[in-house]
């Protein structure tokens, strides 16, 4: 039984590192918290609401995202998107990602 939870822990741990790049990749356009959550879910990327919302705020405080409140509609919403700095970061992260995939592929091929 404990093996199952160990495995799922390891999977969560492995995926955690990809959360930020996944979030950033979907913020070329303005998104508010819930719309981003749904967009990620549609693409099978599961991230908890309680993780996503604080993460967006944190990224904003690090100047990776910029935000603005839209109060024209009946529901006020806070929209986020990549800053110029954020765009640079995303490019770098993507490069790193492709490198990582290639490295892992190479590792796994050796094993077989």
């Amino acid at each position: 039984m404990s093996d199952v939870s160990l495995l799922s822990n390891l999977i969560v741990e492995l995926r955690r590192g990809t959360q930020i790049i996944a979030v950033l990749s979907q913020l070329q356009e303005n998104q508010y918290g819930y719309s981003l959550l749904q967009k990620l879910e549609e693409k099978q990327i599961s991230i908890e609401a309680g993780t996503l919302y604080p993460l967006m705020r944190r990224l904003e405080s690090q100047d990776v995202l910029i935000s603005e409140w839209d109060t024209t509609e009946s529901r006020p919403r806070k929209y986020y998107k990549l800053s110029d700095y954020g765009k640079e970061i995303l490019v770098e992260l993507k490069n790193e990602w492709y490198k990582l995939v290639a490295e892992m592929d190479a590792l796994f091929k050796e094993e077989i």
Partner: protein, 333 residues
């Protein structure tokens, strides 16, 4: 129906956040919850959304950018080690001062009362000592932590590495423990048999007739159950010591309790008012050609000194025991 659950939820999150970000997080959280609810405002859907967001305490920690500790993981081991050491020392010292206090001012009537008073006083002292040890060590480590935060961490160097410990895992010598156990049992049996069966014959003899009893026998009789109890506990713990031959927290705790109990009873016993018979003092005074009062005073001074020595040696013994215990635990880990 619970009232204002959403407001209460948001409040429970934001009250844990720094003042300056509270208002913004609150607004945003309301908006997010609103979006997640959509058109459905039933109790069930509200519950579902809030459960999805998770425990307010956890959500709040995710909103905080800086991790916060009282004692950070990097210092935690040192903290625990220092805490143990300080606790051992403070508890021992408080035990020792408690014993002295008892020797100087006993004020109960029956032996049971006196032992009860002493034990409650000693444990009260030790508990206070534990709490203050905890408080001081924590405050000092917290201060170190704060100071570290401000200044850059010092570069780590090879010279900081500790020396290797010299001795091997400290064990209890099994032979020694068994010899101790045997001697202890023999003495306990002789002593208790003497008290139970031959108490009336314990005295000063002239030409094989007893001229003065040493004790006021009714006081000794009142102590007999306590003495038997204390001897039995000591013997059982000595047997456990020989059996395990390795200090553990459990064994050291039992050993400490039995030691403390035995010492308390011994000290209460020998310091008990009117334990010794006036007749004996008079007899001795007659031999030495001084007054019975002087003899009585000399006796009580001697007993006090002996009690304090007993307190000191027990304290040292307990400190050594606990230090050995933590060493042996660290080795087995």
């Amino acid at each position: 129906m619970m009232k204002n659950v959403i407001e209460r939820y948001v409040y429970d999150v934001t009250r844990r956040l720094p003042e300056e970000s509270r208002e913004e997080v609150k607004k945003e959280l309301f908006a997010n919850i609103d979006d997640m609810l959509g058109e459905s405002r039933t109790e069930e859907s509200i519950e579902k959304v809030l459960l999805e967001l998770g425990e307010p305490r956890l959500l709040a920690t995710k909103y905080r950018t800086k991790e916060r500790y009282l004692i950070s993981p990097a210092y935690f081991d040192d903290y625990i080690r220092v805490l143990k050491l300080v606790m051992i020392i403070l508890v021992s010292v408080s035990f020792f001062t408690g014993v002295i206090d008892l020797v100087i001012s006993p004020n109960s009537v029956t032996p049971w009362e006196m032992v009860g008073e002493v034990i409650s006083k000693l444990f009260g002292n030790m508990f206070t000592a534990l709490l203050s040890a905890f408080a001081w060590v924590t405050v000092i480590f917290w201060g170190i932590e704060k100071a570290q935060e401000k200044s850059k961490r010092k570069e780590w160097k090879l010279t900081y590495l500790p020396e290797l410990p010299r001795n091997n895992s400290p064990k209890i010598s099994r032979t020694g423990a068994i010899v101790g156990l045997v001697i202890e049992t023999i003495f306990a049996v002789i002593f208790i048999t003497l008290l139970v069966n031959y108490l009336d014959n314990v005295g000063i003899y002239e030409n094989s007739t007893m001229v003065a009893p040493i004790f006021n026998n009714e006081i000794v009789v009142a102590f007999i159950p306590l003495l038997i109890l204390s001897a039995s506990i000591s013997i059982v713990v000595s047997a456990l010591k020989a059996y395990y031959a390795q200090w553990s927290i459990k064994l050291a705790s039992m050993y400490s309790i039995s030691k403390i109990f035995a010492v308390v009873i011994a000290i209460v016993f020998i310091n008990y008012p009117n334990l010794f018979s006036v007749l004996m003092f008079e007899k001795i005074a007659g031999y030495l050609e001084i007054s019975a009062n002087q003899v009585a005073n000399g006796f009580s001074t001697g007993i006090r000194i002996y009690s304090i020595i007993l307190g000191i040696t027990t304290t040292i013994d307990l400190i050594i025991t606990w230090v050995k215990t933590f060493k042996s635990i660290n080795y087995s880990e």
